[in-house]
Amino acid sequence: MNRRNIIFIVLILFGITGLFTYFQSLPSLLEKKPSLVTGKILTRPMEIDNFELIDQNNEVFNKKSLVGSWTVLFFGYTNCPDVCPTTIYKLAEIKNGIKEDLPSTSFNTVLVTLDPDRDSTERLDEYIGYFDETMLGVTGTYENIQSFTSSLSVFYQRINKDQGYDFNHTASIFVFDKDGSLFATMSPANTVGELEGDFFTILNNF
């Protein structure tokens, strides 16, 4: 094989590698979606099944409740003294920031309980009202909470203790767009600054 042929083969190989990389990155180049620090934006917003829950004001909370504004939703229970209040305060701070800097944005926050036995609408009213009265606290029957969590692939498990019980559960914060479709997920373990940055990324670009 002469030198010319070798150079030709090498160039062809370069070309194939280049094309391969180009096509691999093509979808993300076409979508131009900004990325998040604390979680991820879904490739395309996911429509979820209808659900039937009830908020602390005894109003129905269903798929239609998500339409018309951005909704940030997470799962917990009012007997959780550490992570739940911490997440509520973080989201309240972020909501205030958005109200100040992006006043035209409608932005709701929702806690969905995994513990309908102890978290009645009255208890949720007392609990949510204490920490952030602008937030919605949502409960329902076992079956309805179960079907809502499974439509979002949320895992939860009751852990019995000497006194009472706790839950292990999916930690994610779920972000729904104005059409009520699941748009992004984030991890609440991040700082207020990191989460707020990501919310601004979403609200400024979509």
Partner: protein, 150 residues
Amino acid sequence: MRTKSIKPLILIAFLSIAFGQEIFAELDVNDSWIRSAPPNSKIFSGYLKFKNVSPNEITIKKMKSNAFDQIEIHSSFIEDGISSMRKIDSLRIPENSEVKLDPGGYHLMMMSPKKEIKEGNLVELIIYYKTLDRIKILRSDAMVLRDGYE
């Protein structure tokens, strides 16, 4: 002449007793606070900073308070996207180092309040710790606050 030479010794003796605790402190507790919660709450969460200022390891063995039936040290953590809590039986604080109990991490799980836990109140904390094979007790107070010290 004789009494004159004894006086400084007596003074030193008194001073050592008065400041002895300060001089020989091994464990400092700082920034203690309890997250206030709505009425009828049965569980509260407490946070603080343990500082081991001694050259020996300290282990926190248990905690008590006249305001709660039971206090446990817990750790909140996220593993594979699942948020869980685990009871910590004894918390190790290596020599000359600090361990922080912070929201979303280590915290005091304070159960069954014996009285109303109100914002602005001080709540007693009794800390049982072990160092050099001895159990010792330290008393401290935690302030009931909405969202910690700014």
